[in-house]
Amino acid sequence: MEQTWKKVIEPKNKLLDLKLGELLEYKDLIWMFVKRSFKSQYKQTILGPAWFVINPLITSVLFTVVFGGIAKISTDGVPQFLFYMAGNTAWSYFATCLTNTSNTFVANAGVFGKVYFPRLVMPISTVIFSVLSFLIQLALLVGFMIYFMAIGENVQPNMYILLLPVFVLHMAAMGLGFGIIISSLTTKYRDLTILVGFGVQLWMYITPVVYPVSTLSDKLKALIMLNPMAPVVNNFKYAMLGCGKMEWGYWGLSAIVTAVVLFVGIVIFNKVEKTFMDTV
């Protein structure tokens, strides 16, 4: 009897078989994980979701005191508090995406070892969940912007603010890309998890988060702008606060780098997910 099969499990995936269609079948699961993260994150805490707001507030105040007050780094004429808050909002979204997706395999070994679903569901839901805290921080930022504009400070949000979704998508893609590459490698080498926490901190300092690009010499600027996160943070700040200028060329380059990283990430991830249970 000739038989047709709906699915064939083989020793290896084809290298470029990204299985994105299958991912779509599981879109409900992605939402379910996002909801689960939201519901469980602040259960049994006193302040609950208020932590979404407290974290960035404290960080911004701290940056204002340390980098603005003590180190006296220029902020291109923008109120220091806003400058740091904007930088921190963008950066912390990327950093959260990266760190939280980077332990996908190790943290979920329990579930992954018992049941199959496309593994990419996990990091993608993490990235979507992080958008939530980004939005809350963004709302906070907008609130302060309005306040500072009302008291006549130099804050000039402009048309480029419409690019916000693009910024978010770009950062999400980059965080996801780097995150899943790292998570694929951590199935074998646990050192990388330690490196991530440390590395993300260092990475922040080569990204114009606490300083404006305008303070850099041309050479240094060219170097810093090769960091794919740099133009995104810079352009985000320009769109929101009107400080510095748009960096189209570097942004384009960064987009290409991101696409490559994400693609490579998915390929590696798909390769690792087949057998990672044997090594994790």
Partner: protein, 424 residues
Amino acid sequence: MAEELMLKVEDVYKRYRLGTIGGGTLTADLQSWWAKVRHKEDPNSKIGAKTYGKNEVFYALNGISFEVRKGEALGIIGGNGAGKSTTLKLISQVTAPTEGKIYLNGRITSMLEVGTGFHPELTGRENIYLNGAILGMTKAEIDKKIEEIIDFSECRQFIDTPVKRYSSGMYVKLAFSVAAHLDSEIMIMDEVLAVGDMAFQKKCIDKMKSIANDEGRTILYVSHNMNTIRQLCDRCVVLDKGKVIFEGDVEKAIEVYMNFESSTFPTNYDCNNVLRDDLNFGKKAFIQSVNFLDKNSAIYDSGEKIKIEVVWKSIVNIDNVGVRMAVKQRTSGNIGMAQSKETLIGKEGDVNRSIFELDLSNLCDGEYYIKLFLYESDMSGNVFDLDGAMHTIFVKIKTIKKTRAVWKQNYWGNVYLNEIKILQ
């Protein structure tokens, strides 16, 4: 039966490499690599540990093939390490086969564990959605079935309470209910029914049966519990050491599997290179081996006489050699001891083959072990042990033909005493 095939496992191998999966950290791997480059000893290998070569591999599955048709409930049985769980893992795509292919004709739900992905902080209802989605249902499908699931789980009263406050039984019931209501064409279950109270277990089995028989779905079930296998499955596959050793009728499969257990009751014990308990053992007489005769495994019907051959070397001339066997229950200990009435004689340098008959017809079914000694007694009745007891020799007694009433071992012990005579 011309039902279509739902699952076909074709010549599947799963290989694990022994020992050399890597140091776990990047630095350790680099160190090992650097040492290898310089032909030095690997600093990360344990001293004295057997170093596994690159090619030393272990096949958890060694070329298995089987097919399952629509509406069939297939049981998979086998001892620990036979490859049952590995098979299920491969079919449910948790890990990939090394060689071979698995063909599926439909969606698969695997329950390798109860409550996979349950989050303690979420309520029962939320967990039904989450768990259902993990197992491959869409939200709309769960919406349709949620009431049915809650009813089946018997947890309606607590359905909006976080599951961390559930008793373990409720937790399991809820988890099983979700899986049992999935729409997938193939269901895989690993020993999950071994939980919940008796009533719920029965309910589960009935549900599974109706899934297979009435709804025409396919079930793959792994268990060590032969009763549930009997109740649920139409057909069985018996695995051993990564190979299919039997496929077919359930009762026959169980029989094959039970006999295979005998590998733990060997018939030959080599005593040549075994450390003795006492320095004086083996000086005058040395036991070379102990063997059960006429058997493939040391499993005896109750009442069956046990023939034991002892090969021993008499190093000096000795006479008056007797044999003593202390019999102990495997878990509860001492039962009794049997001695030979006659004695043996050994000439210097001879290798003697002595065959003994042991009668354990007074013992009830169970697993026992024997400590065997050769001893020498002198004129005045003093006894000196010559050699023995280096192995614990296992015997299993299993009634095949029922001749006695059910024996309540917990109350009555292991020994059938002589019948009571009624004098008046």
